[in-house]
Amino acid sequence: MSLMDRIKDCLGTDLIEISEFRGDVCVEIPKNRVIEAMTSLKEKGGFDFLSDVFGVDNIDLYAAKAKKAKKKKKGEEEEEEPKKQGPPPPRFEVIYLLLSLKTNERLQVRVRVPEDSMDVPSVTGIWKAATWPEREAFDMYGFKFKGHPNLRRLLMWDEFKDHPLRKDYPLEGKGEERHLNYDTV
């Protein structure tokens, strides 16, 4: 049984999409079923090791695609207006990298997160390894991991306002500075 089939078996209805690129299998699961899907992947699928958790901001990707699509259409038929698409795809995604220690197979699990509801179930209950990566994802993108024991900023200082890895945050920052007032203490 191939890896894809096994994952399909294991996830059942939780599976939204499964794809493969250069041998890396990526599955997409719904946001509200993260815990269940992960548990079944861990226990039934044998993916017992969490490599990493991180976020991706897809806003530019969608923009580029839309532009491309528009361009293409323009090339074909100038007059036709771009059709109204359905609701825009969720802006963010959280990617979990799983690994099976027995078979040495890797799996990317993707959860799409729309901008207006940034809460994602935390997998720290399943793997403690997710503790800091989730904090970092919160720091960098603003995901609110529900059930995380200590969801504070990790890399930036506490008073920092923005989420720097979002695509709309400028590379060189907005001129934030950190001040510590020693004398008051």
């Binding site: 690129f21 250069r22 890396d24 990526c26 017992d48 090791f49 969490l50 490599s51 990493d52 991180f54 991706v56 901001d57 530019d60 990707l61 580029a64 990617i95 990298l97 220690l101 040495n104 890797r106 990317q108 793997w127 403690k128 390894a129 503790t131 800091w132 990566p133 900023r153 990790l154 890399l155 930036m156 200082w157 506490d158 720097p164 890895l165 695509k167 945050y169 590379l171 510590l180 007032n181 020693y182 203490v185």
Partner: protein
């Protein structure tokens, strides 16, 4: 400094009321490698709780990576784990090559292996040396550093830099093995072994050393897996896992080497594993060098890749066994010449998050020993 320390500690959150003393260690503290910080609550010398704080070297490498081309990002990978920059370079190159769907010629693979194993030796030497320094034995550090200088010399003669090597390029390696290597390797092998042996003689059976390391920060294997440990830290707990064996990349499956494992995951096991791994690395280099010499002179070292690299749209993850453990690069490409998202999975990041659990109930001196034995490199920790 000490005053600074107190105040910094308070700014993060008031010390807990009770009989415990809040002691802030770092970020500038001799054992904190420059940028780490641990906030501990101590009862006398015993640590009740410890919470590491990181981010003092967060340079935004991932964000920067999204704004640089694939080739421009390569020098930045040097600055992740600067103790073994070559491993990072190769990890990144392999990841991009995976995204491009190419495989480099065998000779280049061998060259990469030789350089990577040299880097691994250098990295472990730093670790063992610093561990010694932090436990009060300074001299082995100097003996090891001298050997590292030799290794750096090879690096310098191969690609022109000592530390931030930027070795190779996407698609291969740009230079043959330097003459220096041919001249020096037989001698160097012995001198590395000699330095290791001297370190061994100074430390391993010394009871002070044994008391300081054996049974300190022992960690269970299943906990280690749950926390996402990889590399020597995991092997010290007794799990035989090495990506070079388990998910062979390059030509590692063709070499004969052992994966040393420990038993208890204590500082002594971590130290011993590093010492043994250096020996294995020497073995690998010997084999790879023999194979390299068998290759014809005009065997290709580079794969032809376009000047502007544009991997097709998709996302890949590729991991290698860096000296610290699994070093992975996740690259999401949108088909342009810049990576859409680049995520580095640093090995020590996963280990260091369990630091609080690792040192709980131990003493302040053990905290120092533990930190050194993890080999936290701030560059890859914070990125």
């Amino acid at each position: 400094m000490a005053k600074e320390i107190e105040t910094v500690c308070v700014t993060t959150g008031p010390a807990e009321v009770g009989d415990y003393v809040a002691l802030n260690i770092g970020p500038i503290h001799p054992a904190m490698h420059g940028t780490l910080r641990v906030i501990t609550r101590t009862d006398g010398e015993t640590i009740i709780s410890a919470e590491p704080e990181i981010g003092y070297l967060h340079r935004g490498v991932e964000k920067l990576g999204e704004n640089l081309t694939y080739r421009q990002f390569l020098p930045l990978t040097d600055r992740l784990n600067y103790c073994s920059a070559i491993c990072n370079n190769v990890a990144y190159e392999l990841a991009v090559e995976k995204a491009l769907g190419i495989e480099v010629p065998e000779k280049a693979q061998l060259l990469r292996i030789i350089m990577m194993e040299l880097a691994r030796i250098a990295d472990h030497q730093v670790l063992v040396g610093i561990l010694g320094v932090d436990l009060g034995a300074l001299t082995p550090f100097f003996y090891l550093i001298i050997q590292r200088e030799e290794i750096y010399e090879i690096f310098e003669w191969h690609h022109g830099a000592r530390l931030t090597n930027s070795m190779g390029t996407i698609g291969g390696v740009e230079a043959e093995l330097p003459d220096r290597f041919h001249e020096k390797w037989p001698k160097m092998r012995d001198s590395i072994r000699k330095a290791n042996d001297e370190t061994d003689r100074l430390l391993t059976h010394n009871r002070i050393w044994m008391d300081r390391t054996i049974g300190v920060n022992a960690f269970c294997a299943d906990d280690a897996l749950n926390w996402g440990f990889t590399g020597p830290m995991l092997r010290a707990c007794g799990v035989k896992r090495d990506l070079r064996k388990d998910e062979p990349y390059l030509m590692y499956d063709k070499f004969d080497f052992e994966v040393p494992t420990g038993k208890h995951g204590d500082v002594f096991d971590r130290y011993m594993i590093r010492m043994l791994e250096m020996e294995e690395s020497i073995k690998i280099i010997d084999q790879a060098y023999a194979m390299y010499q068998d290759m014809p002179d005009d065997a290709p070292l580079m794969k032809k890749v376009p000047k502007i690299i544009k991997p097709p749209e998709g996302q890949i993850y590729h991991a290698i066994e860096s000296p610290n453990g699994e070093l992975g690069f996740f690259i999401k490409s949108d088909g342009t010449d810049k990576p859409y998202r680049i995520k580095i999975r640093p090995p020590c990041y996963m280990v260091y998050q369990a630091f609080g659990e690792l040192v709980q109930g131990e003493m302040i001196s053990d905290l120092i020993a533990c930190l050194s034995s993890i080999n936290v490199i701030a560059g890859e920790l914070d990125r």
